[in-house]
């Protein structure tokens, strides 16, 4: 099983290369190889249906609970077979429909990478490994939706699908981590045995909500359904494969997979059955209002996904079996119908259902496939769709009174689905032929093989439903956590459920006849204006607006504002720390500065004030010099005459240098007005007050320095220097001096380069 994944990824990686050699035959080569993979999984069927799941595990990052572990039971095998089986037909189809496309090699790369990631999702036993593959399906879906990348609509739809599914995925990741932490393991097979305890756990509700967010976005449940119809800008093989039969089922798969762990609580049932039922009805209703073939199919897909969620939410034995049957039936007929729609588009250039008609005569094989698939879709007897619908009605009928609203919703949705089945699968092929952009013709074999095989599959399974029983039983067993014994019959006999089925079909036909009128009455434009799609646009827009605003406020471009914010941050943080503690007054208790210190301390700020207020640069420079001299005096007071001498020298030199430079500068201009000067003064005072306070507090009770005595003692004896300061600089802390020398050297390079290397005097640059 892991080797299948390796094979898939390798095939994906080499597909551009294979395409270079195979050219026109790439589709067949890929189809054959993927079919081989299908056979590989089919060989597991006997063991799995006999109830012997397979598990493999390698450590990846064990301390995080991440293992590359796979688990093959009925559920994952059912999905794997669908993924590979449909994948192989779609690969063949793509070779025909995208023949001659310059990026066909890349297309197969993405398609096969998707297929393998999807296999990874359904095979993974470790939650986090599942997440890894889950995100890879989102990513490959992004690349595939945006395949026609120079079309801005394709780019937008790709982004939308990505953002919605990844947002859900991220929530799901948090849910997975919570689940793993609560359950003590990240292996689903382990967690399945701990279901009862987990459902009692304190974090059950949050983790359930987070995981459901992931499943609902991926499986396009209301109100996250909007990305799926927009994703129809993708090439048809992508729509047929990712966006109807496989990727969008990943959410449903997850719900089924985690049923033994999370299901059967009031929250689970309420969330799934409500969201599922609403999605089912809304999807089917919206399908009826559209005329684009692929969009209609997308909305019906949403509806079916809602139905699957609803069934898993009910969680009864019959509901789970019905879900598994619906899953298979839908995968077969919906992929077929998408490919049929692609063929119609391919042959006639038409995607609007109102314009296509009478194609059966020129496209007989496609038409046959379409009608068969539509039968299954509508649930006409002898199709697998009929059997699955019987099972659904049975499951919901069995709920007695509380199931009545659900029964009504299911009936409505199914009737609508019958209508759309006729719209998509029957209407384009019969009636009078009208004028079309292309001369219609039957498509080559690569294009009709896929839909025909899929549609026939629906018929064959419908005729011999008992043959599917073991597989469905194995899948349902995995979901329920206890053995399931479904009974599928071609003809259930006359009962209420059959009557419901019959009424559904009749209702659907009736709706079809009234379709034009219904469409005219319902204002689609109004619905879209308040729809979730619009909500997505508004959210994105609001995010960007807020981003612009906050960036304009924060990153204003004015250095003075940056300085103000920084100083205020220091003052408020340090001030907060001081105030919340034992209080400033207490901190300042202790030694206070002497009278001399006060005098100097008064002189320095005065000089600084003069430097700020003076109108002449020269005065300001001299005032600054006074500030420096004041500091030097302080050094003297503290008994550091050599330091004071250095400071005097430096200050004098600085003033002299300044005077030389100032001489050449233009006269001083004041830019700031009074209010801003007052504001700046307040900020400066606050900063100064903080530093003064901190220094007073620090010196009020100075800690005994352990360094000074050591230096005094060892300076002469060990370092052979009488001047302790010098010895500190060149011996005790020589590394500091080395660093400072480096600073000076670099500064010298800088001055040299800034003066000599000017723009325009150099060669080409990056």
């Amino acid at each position: 099983m892991p080797e299948s994944l390796l094979f898939g990824f390798a095939l994906a990686a080499f597909s551009p290369l294979i395409h270079r050699f195979a050219r026109g035959a790439t589709g067949w080569v890929m189809g054959a190889l993927v079919a081989g993979l299908t056979v590989r999984f089919a060989l597991y069927v006997p063991a799995i249906t006999a109830g012997n799941p397979v598990r493999t595990c390698w450590a990846w990052v064990p301390p995080l609970g991440v293992n590359v572990s796979f688990y093959l039971d009925g559920l994952s095998l059912l999905f794997a077979l669908l993924i590979c089986g449909i994948g192989s037909l779609v690969a063949i189809y793509a070779g025909g429909s995208l023949r001659g496309h310059p990026q066909l090699g890349r297309f197969y790369l993405y398609l096969l990478a998707f297929m393998t990631s999807m296999l990874g999702v359904v095979l993974a036993d470790n939650l986090l490994t599942l997440y890894v593959f889950w995100e890879l399906t989102s990513l490959t879906s992004y690349l595939l939706i945006g395949f026609n990348h120079e079309d801005s609509r394709a780019r937008q739809a790709a982004l939308q699908a990505l953002l919605v599914t990844v947002a859900g995925g991220l929530a799901m990741l948090a849910g997975f981590v919570l689940l793993g932490l609560a359950g003590g393991s990240f292996e689903i097979s382990v967690l399945s045995g701990r279901g009862p305890a987990l459902r009692e756990h304190a974090t059950y509700l949050p983790l359930l909500a987070l995981i459901l967010a992931g499943a609902f976005t991926k499986s396009a449940q209301f109100p996250f359904h909007f990305w799926l119809p927009n994703a129809m800008v993708a090439p048809t093989p992508v729509s047929a494969y990712l966006h109807s039969s496989t990727m969008v089922k990943a959410g449903v798969y997850l719900l089924a997979r985690l049923s033994p762990v999370l299901a059967d609580t009031a929250a689970w049932t309420a969330a799934l059955s409500t969201v599922g039922a609403v999605t089912m009805v809304i999807g089917a209703t919206l399908a009826l209002l559209h005329t684009d073939l692929k969009r209609i199919l997308a909305y019906t897909t949403i509806s079916v996904l809602g139905g699957l969620t609803l069934l898993l939410g009910l969680g009864t034995s019959s509901a789970v079996v019905a879900a598994m049957a619906l899953l298979v039936a839908h995968a077969l007929y919906k992929a077929a119908l998408f490919l049929v729609a692609g063929n119609v588009d391919h042959a006639t250039g038409i995607r609007d259902v109102r314009q296509a008609s009478g194609l059966a005569r020129v496209m007989p094989i496609t038409a046959a496939a379409a009608v068969l698939a539509a039968m299954s879709n509508a649930g006409v007897p002898a199709s697998f769709g009929f059997i699955s619908k019987e099972l659904i009605y049975e499951a919901i009928w069995g709920l007695s009174a509380r199931g009545l609203p659900l029964l009504a919703a299911t009936f409505l949705a199914n009737a609508l689905l019958v209508t759309t089945a006729i719209l998509v699968g029957v209407r384009p092929f019969f009636g009078r032929r009208t004028a079309m952009p292309h001369m219609p013709h039957e498509t080559p074999i690569a294009l009709w093989l896929g839909p025909l095989v899929l549609a026939l599959g629906g018929l064959v399974l419908g005729l011999v439903p008992a043959r599917t029983e073991p597989m469905l039983a194995a899948a349902a067993t995995a979901v329920e956590g206890q053995p399931a014994h479904p009974h599928l019959a071609l003809w259930p006999g006359f009962n209420v459920v059959l009557a419901l089925s019959a009424v559904t079909v009749l209702g659907g036909i009736g709706l079809y006849l009234a379709w034009e009128r219904v469409r005219r009455v319902v204002p689609l434009a109004t619905i879209t204006r308040f729809g979730a799609d619009r909500g997505y646009d508004l959210t994105l827009e609001a995010m960007l607006r807020f981003g612009t605003l906050q960036t304009r406020v924060l990153q204003s471009g004015y250095l003075r504002f940056y300085l103000i914010i920084i100083i205020l941050t220091v003052v408020s943080l340090a001030g907060w720390a001081l105030l919340k503690g034992e209080g400033v007054v207490k901190l300042l208790a202790g030694r206070w500065p002497s009278i001399y210190e006060w005098i100097i301390a008064g002189l320095v700020p005065l000089a600084a004030l003069l430097a700020i207020l003076s109108q002449s640069r020269l005065t300001a420079v001299i005032a600054l010099g006074t500030v420096g001299y004041g500091l030097a005096l302080l050094y003297l007071l503290y008994g550091a005459p050599d330091l004071a001498m250095t400071q005097f020298a430096i200050e004098t030199l600085t003033v002299v240098l300044f005077v030389l430079v100032v001489y050449r500068l233009p006269p001083l201009v004041r830019f700031a007005n009074w209010p801003s000067r007052v504001r700046d003064a307040m900020v400066a005072l606050a900063g100064g007050a903080l530093m003064t306070g901190l220094l007073l507090a620090a010196t009020a009770r100075p800690g005994a320095s352990s360094l000074s005595p050591f230096y005094a003692e060892h300076s002469l004896s060990d370092a052979y220097g009488r001047n302790v300061v010098n010895v500190i600089l060149v011996d005790f802390r020589a590394l500091d001096t080395l660093g400072e020398i480096t600073v000076l050297t670099v500064a010298a390079i800088g001055v040299h380069a800034l003066l000599r290397l000017l723009p325009g005097r150099k060669g080409p640059r990056l």
């Binding site: 990846w60 990052v61 301390p63 995080l64 991440v66 310059p102 990026q103 890894v132 995100e135 990513l139 120079e150 780019r155 953002l163 991220l170 948090a174 981590v177 932490l181 995010m543 960007l544 612009t548 906050q550 960036t551 924060l554 990153q555 471009g557 940056y562 300085l563 920084i566 941050t569 943080l573 720390a577 001081l578 503690g581 901190l587 220094l695 507090a697 620090a698 100075p702 320095s705 352990s706 360094l707 020589a734 590394l735 500091d736 660093g739 400072e740 480096t742 600073v743 670099v746 500064a747 390079i749 800088g750 040299h752 380069a753 800034l754 290397l757 150099k762 060669g763 640059r765 990056l766």
Partner: protein, 507 residues
């Protein structure tokens, strides 16, 4: 073995001196610079291996016993950072050989770069808080001159903001060191750690911690102190932006993590919750800033800010898992972010612009460049199984374990917006048709002026491909890196080992 502690400082120093001696000889400069970068990486790897095998290493400069002299000390965290510094140095210098103009090379580009590396490595290895200040100064002056080198108007404007705000940070840092020395009477960090934990005036210590928080916060570019970064990073040549993006802010983060695990852990309910708050705001403001930019390097610059938030988040949690997440995130981020800047340079060379609106069509003609962009870009957004996914997962898990749901939600939301930004670049630069050329049939081969000379291609794509490969490898073989990060985090949360290594070390 102790020589390994000195080498990461000594090698760049010797290289710088050699380059100064060879002033004006461009060919020689390029060779010395490359050799110096290789030697530094080798020394750094040697140090990391040694620390992994033997535990924390310390040595006393000049043979003066701690706390009287200056101690160099390498725990795993420091050693990892030195290796990353060496790696980025090498990658950027190789890239520079094909991208820095003659003028800049003649006027000291290479010595400045090695001066920068010396400052960075010194900061990672010093055990002395004042010495840390000195290395910050070395870094600041080197980066300032690198930023301004060339003297273009945008460069000068950016570098003035850069230097003004960073000097403010230095002033705060120095004041804080002074006050700290005044209260605790020592500068050695291990010694300080012991004295501060016994300090009788916790309020004063917390207030000093705030000064350090702001001083290092400016360097690390956290909210609301990050202004200098988006104001300056897009102005110099892209190789300079790349090394800055990879290393400079991370030195600030390093310093924050160092002092807030070793020195200021007296009142974590205040300090570390504050850090967590800052982390959240940093993530959000950075990513929103990026979302509205239309220039490649500006987008990437704002993302640096945003991701600093993640690195600080682990510190705010103050658990082994959280700090391990931070360290993993730093490793991942340095590699990926430097690489994205390098890719943006190639895009500029091929497309002639950094503006998204003026670019396009590279997906069709430059498939490999598209792949080389996609790897770091998706990793940055935390898409599995690349390095960024593990970094994100570790932090999320650590956050949830500590019951910090809010910051986890913020981190996840921000990673979605990061993905949004990255796909924006992807859609505009790679997918979109080149502007103004929609009507023409798109060329299968790039136009002649867009072609690179083979040697340039090797020098530009080589580092990019190497860093992308590293990103993928860290993603696929995450366990060793995880083990490294976790052990480094354990050393940080149990400072006794660090203190013992420094103070017990006698010449």
């Amino acid at each position: 073995m102790r020589v390994l502690l000195v080498l990461p400082i000594l090698v760049p120093l010797v290289t710088t001196v050699a380059l100064l001696l060879a002033w004006g000889r461009r060919g020689l400069h390029r060779r010395i610079s490359l050799a110096g970068a290789i030697a530094l990486l080798a020394a750094a790897v040697g140090l990391l291996v040694s620390v992994w095998r033997h535990g924390i290493l310390a040595t006393q400069m000049g043979g003066w016993p701690a706390p009287f002299g200056i101690t160099l000390v390498a725990d795993l965290f420091g050693a990892i950072m030195v290796v990353l510094g060496g790696l980025m140095g090498l990658a950027v210098i190789v890239y520079s050989l094909a991208s820095i103009d003659r003028g800049r090379e003649r006027f000291g580009y290479h010595p400045l770069l090695h001066g920068l590396l010396m400052g960075v490595c010194g900061a990672f290895l010093t055990g002395d808080i004042f010495n840390l200040y000195v290395w910050f100064e070395v870094m600041l002056i080197s980066s300032f001159v690198l930023l301004a080198l060339g003297g273009e108007q945008a460069q000068l404007e950016g570098s003035i903001k850069y230097v003004a705000l960073n000097l403010l940070s230095s002033a705060l840092f120095l004041s804080a060191v002074g006050i700290l020395y005044g209260t605790a009477g020592t500068l050695n960090m291990a010694d300080l750690s012991q004295r501060l934990s016994a300090a009788d005036r916790p309020t004063l210590v917390t207030a000093m911690a705030m000064l350090f928080l702001v001083a290092f916060g400016i360097k690390a570019a956290v909210f609301p102190l990050f202004f200098w970064l988006p104001a300056s990073y897009h102005t110099p040549p892209v190789a300079v932006s790349a090394i800055f993006a990879g290393l400079l802010t991370k030195v600030g983060v390093y310093a924050l993590i160092r002092v807030f695990t070793l020195l200021f852990v007296q009142d974590p309910a205040f300090t570390h919750n504050l850090i967590l708050l800052i982390a959240g705001f940093t993530m959000v403001t950075g990513v929103l800033g990026a979302a509205v930019q239309g220039e490649l390097r500006r987008i990437l610059s704002f993302h640096i800010v945003s991701q600093i938030g993640y690195m600080v988040m682990g510190l705010g949690l103050l658990t082994v898992a959280g700090l391990a997440g931070s360290i993993f995130y730093i490793i991942h981020h340095i590699i990926v972010k430097t690489n994205l800047f390098l890719v943006s340079g190639v895009v500029h060379r091929l497309g002639g612009s950094y503006q998204l609106s003026e670019l396009g069509g590279l997906y069709r003609v430059r498939a490999w460049l598209a792949v080389l962009f996609l790897i770091p870009a998706l990793s940055l957004a935390g898409i599995p199984p690349l390095s960024g996914f593990w970094a994100k997962l570790m932090l999320i898990r650590a956050g949830l374990e500590s019951g910090r749901g809010t910051i986890v939600a913020v981190a996840l939301g921000v990673s979605l917006l990061t993905l949004y930004s990255m796909t924006k670049i992807w859609a505009e630069v790679f997918w979109k048709a080149p502007p103004g050329k929609q009507s023409e049939p798109a060329p299968r081969k790039p136009a002649a002026h867009e072609r690179l000379r083979p040697r340039d291609r090797l020098l530009l794509y080589g580092p990019v491909a190497a860093l992308a490969t590293l990103t993928v490898l860290i993603g696929l073989w995450a366990a060793p890196v995880f083990a490294l990060a976790e052990r480094a985090a354990e050393q940080l949360t149990h400072p006794a080992g660090y203190i013992a290594a420094v103070l017990a070390e006698r010449p």
